[in-house]
Every structure is written in C-alpha cells, then in structure tokens.
C-alpha cells in the first residue's frame, strides 16, 4: 500500500452535493499516512454545518478499504481549510458545472461592497456584469448571483 494509491482512490470520492468535484479537488484531504495495513487520513470540513461531511468521511473510508487497507479517517476541526485550497482542476470543474469558483482570499473578512461590486465572472458566458442576488444559497458554501449579460442566475462559491 502506498500513499499515492490512497490519494488516487480519494481523488474518486465525490462531494455528494457537487458530484463533479472530489474531496481531493476541494483540498479537503490534509494528510495521508500509510502504516502497513493501516491508513490514516486527515479530512477537513468546508463549512462546519455541512451535512456532506459525514458522507465524505464514510465514502473516503470505503474507498480506502476497497484497497484492502484499514481506514482511519479523522475529521480535523481547525482553521486549516480555506477556499484557496481548492485545486486549479477543481476550480475548472466547478466552473463547468455552472458554479462560480471562489475569489482568492484577501486579508481580513469579506466586505459587502466587495461582494456587490467585485468583478465576479459568470461561469456560463464569462461576463463580469454580474450582481449579488443573495449572500446565502442552497448550501452553506454558496451565494446566488445573476448575470446581466446572459440573463443566467448562478451559484457562486463563497470565499472563506
């Protein structure tokens, strides 16, 4: 058993709420340690209230056990995950699924003006003529925006 084999298996574990991306694409796998038959994985949540967390943890364990190893998936409740950890491939997959990838984190907390007037790009037509419709969306990680050019509402990944 190699750590590479574990990473490849985890790269197939989908986020149940955004099935186009895996937990590796989202940067949620913080560490993989292989010790003989035992595999220890550190998983970080996106938002603390995200109900997908348990599903991802359980699916990660199943994927590791399918390799013939004993899985120990630990959920780390600290501040180490941010939307900056989403990989370039992950961002592209989000965009192709109609979800605006998160803006890079800047120093300090997000500001209302920034979200209202920032150049957020429509994942459908690429225009930045978009407006914030709602800070909150169908899951904790998304806001709702509207593209004035192609008249398409879309979901925008929040920056945290």
């Amino acid at each position: 058993m190699t750590a590479e084999a574990v990473w490849s298996a985890l790269a197939e574990v989908e986020d149940p709420e955004i099935p186009v991306v895996s937990i590796v694409d989202l940067g949620l796998v913080r560490d993989v340690q292989v010790d003989g038959e035992r595999v220890h994985v550190e998983l970080t949540p996106t938002f603390l209230g995200c109900p997908a967390l348990e599903v991802m943890r359980d699916r990660a364990a199943v994927a590791i056990e399918a390799l013939g190893a004993r899985a120990d998936v630990e959920v780390i409740l600290d501040d180490s995950w941010s939307t900056d950890r989403i990989t370039p491939a992950g961002r592209e997959k989000l965009r192709s699924a109609g979800l605006g990838p998160p803006a890079p984190r800047t120093a300090g907390s997000p500001k209302l003006l920034q979200l209202q007037n920032g150049p957020f790009r429509c994942p459908y037509c690429g225009s930045t003529e978009t407006r914030l419709d709602n800070l909150f969306g169908p899951t904790p990680c998304r806001s709702l925006r509207y593209c004035a050019r192609c008249k398409q509402p879309f979901e925008q990944f929040k920056t945290i």
Partner: protein, 252 residues
C-alpha cells in the same frame, strides 16, 4: 449530529474558563440556530427564507463542532473529571457530543435569554437580535482566537470565518432598517439582553457600536443574564430534545 466530528486529538482537559466560554457559545448557537430556523418557509421574501435557513444551519454546525471539542477534551471515561454541581454534571456520557447537546435538563443550558426568545412572525425583533448577537459573538470569538490552546484557537478562527457572512447579513439589514421606528424600538428593547449576554470587558465597545438611548436597570439585566431562562424556553427544550428522548440510546 451523530459523530460528525471525530474528536480532534485529545490533549487533556480544557482550561476551565475557556470550557465555560465554549459551552456558553455552543448553547447560544444551538438555540439561536433553532430559533432562526423557525423562519424556514415563512420569511418575508424568498431570499431571507434561504438566508435564515442557511444561517441556522451554520450556527447549529458551530454548536456541533464545539460540543465535539468539549466532549473530546472532557476527560471522557473519567467521571471524576466532572465535578458535582458542574453544568455538565447530569450528562451521562461525557464523551458524546449529542449527549452534551440534548441530554441535559433544561435548567443546565447556558444559553443567554437573548437567543431563547421566540420572535416569529416579528421580523423587526428577529433582525434586531441577529444584529446584536453577531456583535457580541464577534468580540468573544476574537478572544478565543487568541487562546494559547491550539484546538480552541483553531476552531474559533474557523467559526469566525463563517460568521463573517452572518455579520454581512446583519450589516445589510441594519442599514436597510436604520430609520424604521419598529426596528429602532426592537434594538432598544433587546439591548439589555445583549449587554447581559456580553462579557463585562466587551460592554463598553458594544455601547459605542449601538449608542443606546437608555441604560438598562439592574432588574432587567438580572432577568437577561446567562443562566436565566426566558419565557418559552421550556417549550423550546421540549421540542429540541423530543426525538432523542423518545428512544433513549438509539443511534440515528
């Protein structure tokens, strides 16, 4: 809430003062999440239906994570670690976050009366509470982020990043309703609850932020203090714990 958060590396018992602070925050967030979720389906506009539901989900998620930390660091399995008369004394299994969330008798919850009050269908009070609560919450999270205990500081920082969006929501509504008499009256009415909920060190800063017209009387502050229970609390506790009490020991 079952087992979402594998205890993150037990490192011994928490600092007592921080443990009390964390328990108070977890109880506040659980109960406020419950109250905010009462708007699901009936908010004045669809956007707010989504917003209040999402905020409620986040607050309950924060409670869940804090209960998990408290459980992991309670010296689980060592009943002696929990002193008699302690707020957690009646929790049968100290290592279980769900037990902490739902198995305490109503009088042992540490949530502030501010979050216990039921406001549906009054939007003005609902928003006034959100605005005041987020202000108090930001100040106490700032203190915990500076904790020398890495697990406490890390979790507080994570929670604070999510709360940033709740603060934006509160800011947006505070601006929008600033000149509305009903909203102004609601802020004045709930001000004593916010002051009573805040740590004494934070009160001056809150006064600068809200410039209240009146100074609350001692009896008002006494009724609004943490540990007191507001009208409707027992009904809320009944509702909140009903499913778990219906089949004790079941795993969901």
């Amino acid at each position: 809430m079952n087992g979402s958060a594998d205890p993150s590396r037990p490192q011994g018992a928490l600092d007592e003062q921080e443990r009390q602070a964390l328990l108070a925050i977890a109880d506040d967030e659980l109960v406020l999440g419950w109250r905010d979720s009462e708007w699901t389906g009936i908010a004045p506009v669809l956007e707010e239906d989504v917003a209040l539901s999402s905020i409620a989900q986040n607050e309950i998620g924060h409670a869940r994570a804090i209960y998990a930390l408290l459980s992991a660091r309670s010296g689980a399995g060592d009943a002696g670690a929990i002193a008699a008369g302690d707020a957690l004394s009646s929790v049968p299994t100290a290592g279980d976050p769900d037990a902490l969330a739902f198995d305490r008798p109503p009088e042992e919850y540490r949530c502030a009366p501010l979050v216990q009050l039921r406001f549906v269908p009054d939007w003005a009070r609902t928003i006034a509470r959100r605005v005041l609560y987020e202000a108090v919450d930001e100040l106490r999270l700032e203190r915990l982020r500076a904790s020398s205990d890495e697990a406490v500081a890390g979790l507080a920082a994570k929670i604070d990043r999510e709360e940033a969006y709740h603060r934006l929501h509160a800011e947006m509504w505070r601006e929008r309703l600033a000149t509305e008499p009903r909203f102004q009256a609601a802020v004045e009415e709930l001000w004593p609850y916010a002051v009573a909920m805040a740590e004494p060190d934070d009160r001056e800063q809150l006064e600068r932020m809200f410039e209240p017209k009146t100074t609350p009387s001692n009896s008002l502050l006494q009724g609004a203090r943490r540990g007191a229970h507001a009208d409707g609390w027992r009904e809320l506790w009944n509702e909140m714990t009903e499913v778990r009490r219906s089949v004790p020991g079941a795993s969901w």
